[in-house]
Symmetry: C2
Subunit: 309 residues, 2 copies
Amino acid sequence: MTDKDLPFSQAEYDRRLSKTRAAMAAAGIDLLFVTDPSNQAWLTAYDGWSFYVHQGVLVPMEGEPIWWGRKMDMFGGRRTCWMADEYIVGYGDHFVQSTERHPMQDLAARIREMGFGSARIGVEMENYYYSAKAHAVLTAELPKAVFTDATALVNWQRLVKSDEEIAFVRKAARISEKIIETSIARAAPGLRKNDLVADIFHAAITGVDDIWGDYPAIVPLTPSGLDATAAHLTWNGAPMREGEATFFEISGCYRRYHAPLCRTVFLGTPPQEMLDAEKAQLEGIAAGLEAARAGNRTCDIANAFIGAL
Amino acid sequence: MTDKDLPFSQAEYDRRLSKTRAAMAAAGIDLLFVTDPSNQAWLTAYDGWSFYVHQGVLVPMEGEPIWWGRKMDMFGGRRTCWMADEYIVGYGDHFVQSTERHPMQDLAARIREMGFGSARIGVEMENYYYSAKAHAVLTAELPKAVFTDATALVNWQRLVKSDEEIAFVRKAARISEKIIETSIARAAPGLRKNDLVADIFHAAITGVDDIWGDYPAIVPLTPSGLDATAAHLTWNGAPMREGEATFFEISGCYRRYHAPLCRTVFLGTPPQEMLDAEKAQLEGIAAGLEAARAGNRTCDIANAFIGAL
């Protein structure tokens, strides 16, 4: 493959791998198995809608990481990962949703072949897609290995963003701004909520200029009225109403990088208590932003925000 | 709450619960813990974008099922589940992403209080969102319980659709048709793929007449050219090109019910081998449809399709 379109430089991937290996060494891990799709993408650039089957990245202390998944998805791995094709491996479809076989049997065999059958293996115990069954099979197949919970080990390495990553987040933020502008411009009494959400999706995926929109990890959350007292409800076909507030929780996404943004839209004249709440909220945000500086902890920001409230 | 907008009749939910309990009895399960979001919705009508935290449905052999999740999401549970408010329970935010506590400790305490501390408990071992850690904590907290793998137990009950459900699938199919019509009408050399996908999302969420579009469980998969040889790649901002085929894998969704549909669009005059492949494919589909009748198994359909190829 000569026409790969990697999001980041090789130096950036090398940096990520070095950071991860330092954390592995500190945790006493010889081989890390990464299932979190975001962590997989961060380490290898893998980008496919294939996380509904077992897949992951094996990170030994030396050499290239290995992307492992369903054989069908190896082609996507070869098109998106920075590693050479031989580091993209897969299991056959007879393992998929079988009641007799499990993909972790294939992974265990590979781990043994790599010489890690008795190694200290880190797994993300608390992560979607590393199921209870996956862990049960993998540990049974590798009885001599010592398993360590490596939940969030890679996530912590991702915390401080590189300049290349910040450029991506800024692009995502441009899309988020466009989504919120679209939401405010379109919201009106009588408009069906799903028609508003259709415009939100359209703005999010169209993006801004050459900043094309990727799918965000969250659908637009846009509850109105009483529904807005409930977190995480999605939309329906009911019309927006005069005298009702709608809470927008959205994010633009550029090549898997997000910049989430929340806004409340009130159709009509808001009651005084809502205006008072807005004022307090704005003061809190200002205080929080003031505290958001290098050296402070996130609790300092939270305390500044809550203190102002 | 008097303004619930339940998708189905109470008779339908009663039917589902009865079927599930018959399967539990056959499997020797006293208490079922359901984590699959689709299974939760099927049993209780719960519909929230909250599956990134631990949540689930407890099904005892008698009485109402219990929806359990993050306290913040109880409000969404009360707005969407058919059960009375007292059957919606939640754990505090000090359990969320804690390194000291785990939500399964809260669940285990509830199970003990319900008198199921020594019961035979069914869990979906192979399901997203029932993590290796969740299982480790739950089993450690309930040492006297006997755990059974109930993976797909509820899914099998969902297989034969009721008339109420078929009406939903037909509505979803109307949306799928609209999406494919939009895709074919819009696809053209020079059009950026993300702009096409923006129109697809818009069509999917706008829906058809009063059939408003819900978010599908799959994003539009629309790979072109070489990318179409790789399953499950999503879009980018590159323009569509003359002489290239694009594979559309999409689904409309109406209130969590889907009707997936695939089509290939070729821009320009397809080469003869592609036309030959189309002809064979159409013959295979016709043979498969012929075999798709009550009494036949899915393998009969697959064999009819492959036989024609």
